[in-house]
Assembly symmetry: C2
Amino acid sequence: MKRRAFLKAAGIAGAAAFSTPAIAQDKRELKMVTSWPRNFPGFAASAERLAQRITMATGGSLVVKVLAAEELVGRYETFDAVSSGGADIYHGIESFWQGKSKAFNFFAAVPFGLTANEMAAWIYHGGGQEVWDRLSADFGLKPFLAGNTGSQMGGWFRKEMKVVDDFDGLNIRISGLGGDVLRRIGAAPKALPGGELVAALESDAIDACEWYGPWLDLTLGLHKAAKYYYYPGFHEPGTAISAAVNRKLWEGLSGEHKAAIEAAMAAETTVTLAEFNARNTDALDVLRTKHKIGVRKFSSTILRAFGEAAGQVVTDIGTSEVSTRKVYDSFIAYRRRTVSWSKVADQGYMNARLLPFKY
Amino acid sequence: MKRRAFLKAAGIAGAAAFSTPAIAQDKRELKMVTSWPRNFPGFAASAERLAQRITMATGGSLVVKVLAAEELVGRYETFDAVSSGGADIYHGIESFWQGKSKAFNFFAAVPFGLTANEMAAWIYHGGGQEVWDRLSADFGLKPFLAGNTGSQMGGWFRKEMKVVDDFDGLNIRISGLGGDVLRRIGAAPKALPGGELVAALESDAIDACEWYGPWLDLTLGLHKAAKYYYYPGFHEPGTAISAAVNRKLWEGLSGEHKAAIEAAMAAETTVTLAEFNARNTDALDVLRTKHKIGVRKFSSTILRAFGEAAGQVVTDIGTSEVSTRKVYDSFIAYRRRTVSWSKVADQGYMNARLLPFKY
């Protein structure tokens, strides 16, 4: 409600001020509204690189200006701002728009869904882009994959999680569908911003929390407030970062500008994933060696309980509406096939690499 | 010898004909020489997309013309052609240039090395690009990551491979460092072009072969000539595809053109990997359901023997020359750290996903 009111206000104010992009000396300024505070690690930097790539590759004939969350609209208002033409491009995560359609979750992350590579394969070469285009077209948007966080972690816990019953009544900060999964096994998911997590853990307001992965978790200092760091991040096995262009604007762009934008989006998909993996690699090392954090794996019994609940959550959202059903069908069919390939490819290789031998 | 002679001839002929890119009406034509026959699945298409992305994104102010192997120079002559300015960009795999320096292997694939994602993290955010730039600068080249085949398969065998001794005297088509590894455990690696593999297997000229993965292997029809399809592809866990620009040309380009080329290269990194994963997913399904191929895993004993031999091969090439040592040190240090991260990230998640539960 509050969100809608805020947006309407922004929309009205915006109509005169910035609905038509400024055109001066063959320059066209595009406003990219993001869901990130300025300097938010990973995400804000990716949005900046994306904007610079487009600006540079078009020789400044498109100048993309990045606006942090709250600078023009709030972090969850960016979708409506671009949909209405009040801004030109948004940079965010599609699950933020699940209030519009639950189908958007499939282009971000779903519990026990696709890894970053599987998501890219589905989107670029497995029919994913087509169902995404149809979904977003209804909102006046042309969507693109523009990054991925890679696999996230399972979260920080104040106590050891030994059995499924340990989740009963557990106050845990976890967002989106991951929260729905944990609710089904008895936990009490909460929404809390990152900046409040350490204090909430220390005051016992929450017993546990998930944030992103070693890099961003270390930045928040979560290791100071909870001792048990679990993997895998079953709820977000590879969260896609996305950007969408106002569809009318997109359709009016020259082939040259379209090509530059498309290349910049796909470039950020790999460069951002690479950044998360490289920084997570470093941060995990720091957590282990400097802060003596022992990373633990959820037990198979707990993971199976997560899996059963995840199956129900994903089926429920996938079969809830006609538009969602089409996306779900494409996603699930791709997932079934690709699990077999991953098993003999990356997964089979990485498991073989753990055998003891000198290297 | 023959290669060098051929190249010299091409270089002399080329000096007048195409050492200066054609400039007409603000258009500059760039010649991209590739190591692929025209229509070679995956690789040729990626080179074409890369060329089109650059051409489109620059509004045709750079027109990249793709030349298949043998059209201007042979598939292994492209490096020297671009190095000397006889062509502008090459598109290939860095291990093809190991005759120049063994260090190039680390930017393609080494046995038990990095996966596609780990390679991208090392190159883009882990110091890999810097050591690569230094290596290639000595040859007048500016190199880029421009794709990845993803994890490959272990190969096709006419008989079941049960113990390490089964490799003794085995005639196997396998290229590069993978061949060096198998030689250390007693096999006899051979070099043979893809088109000859089915006949060579059927006539018992070879007992086994590796090619790429389900997609390209199915295209060749290898399943008709050998029954046992093994994984993992320990020798090529994620083979990088690369492109390099003549360094003098690169340094003279405008910021706009540099940005367009950089974005196009990074875009192809993710889109090509996605294509290999999507097509391998489909092809594995066809091999299993239509052709009844049962995929087998190398036993742990065999994998450990591969691992020991791979460790020796990689250490030997990594410590052979000063220039190689710098690349090796960067690669090995990154590999050690990232194995820990992958284990709790993609690998930990994918293993959890195999637990039995309804989804």
